[in-house]
């Protein structure tokens, strides 16, 4: 298990490993030793927790390196009280789009049925012509495009939220200057 932890520590940025790697390995060794005394189940849960923590930590440190932000999620104001991200994918929008698509499809089918029932007024509708088929395809493509755009937009908002950009206005200019 310790070998796995060491391998996971290699996922961290080199500077971080250099600064905290040995210390973290010591702590992981002590945690493992303690849980070995408690039994196999404790060791298993501890292993899962530590593995998840190390993976999350590695991603967080690389993210910090890219964005320059030290917001690791534990410090964000929303996390403390809300416990849920304010930036969630708008499921209602997806639902609404599906309803609209279903309504359009239903209307097309209804129009075709009416057309068939009045043969004199309108010529019978035969197999779907390429033009009609293209309308359905265009609608599906539009829906997919809208979903993709929504997902990208949500991703950008989520990243901005995680980076703490929205907290810039709350920064106290008289705060203690950082060192190191």
């Amino acid at each position: 298990m310790l070998a796995l932890y060491r391998a996971l520590l290699r996922l961290y940025p080199a500077a971080y490993r250099c600064e905290y790697g040995d210390e973290m390995t010591d702590v992981l060794r002590e945690v493992q030793s303690e849980n070995q005394k408690k039994g196999a189940l404790a060791l298993l849960f501890s292993g899962m927790r530590e593995t998840g923590g190390l993976l999350y930590g590695a991603v967080r440190e690389h993210f910090m390196g890219i964005t320059g932000s030290y917001d690791n999620g534990m410090f964000s104001s929303g996390r403390r009280s809300a416990m849920r991200s304010e930036f969630r994918f708008p499921k209602a929008t997806v639902g609404l789009m599906m309803v609209i698509l279903a309504a359009v499809m239903f209307t097309i089918e209804k129009a075709r049925a009416i057309s068939v029932s009045i043969p004199h007024a309108n010529p019978a509708v035969g197999p779907i012509h390429p033009t009609q088929a293209m309308i359905v395809q265009a609608l599906l493509a539009t829906l997919l495009w809208a979903l993709t755009a929504g997902a990208i937009g949500w991703g950008i908002l989520h990243l901005l939220h995680r980076s703490g950009v929205h907290q810039l206005s709350e920064m106290n200019p008289s705060a203690t200057p950082k060192h190191r």
Partner: protein, 104 residues
């Protein structure tokens, strides 16, 4: 700066006395009665952030044969912790009043 419960527990742990990483893990778990079990990755992410914010400082334990790194609160960290505790006291007082009012 707002702090989450795990970070608050880390600060409370260091408020009592300087501790090294594993001792902080044990103390936070004990303080939260087993509810908060920090992973090592999470702990060091928080410690790094607190070091960056100058709330804590790192030093080599003199009395340890292994010369382990330990952490202690800075004056700024203690001041900020006191403010956070005062904020929580106010919140629990208001919460108690509101809940009591609802029950009557």
């Amino acid at each position: 700066m707002d702090v989450s419960e795990p970070v608050l527990l880390i600060l409370l742990s260091l408020a009592e006395q300087p501790r090294h990483g594993y001792a902080i893990l044990q103390d936070t778990e004990q303080m939260s009665e087993g509810r908060v079990r920090l992973s090592t990755g999470t702990l060091y992410g928080a410690l790094r952030r607190l070091l960056e914010e100058d709330w804590i400082e790192r030093f080599k334990e003199q009395d340890s044969s292994r010369g382990r790194q330990a952490y202690r609160l800075t004056a700024a960290g203690r001041r900020n912790l006191q403010m956070e505790v005062a904020r929580l006291k106010h919140l629990t007082r208001v919460a108690a009043l509101r809940v009591a009012r609802k029950e009557t």
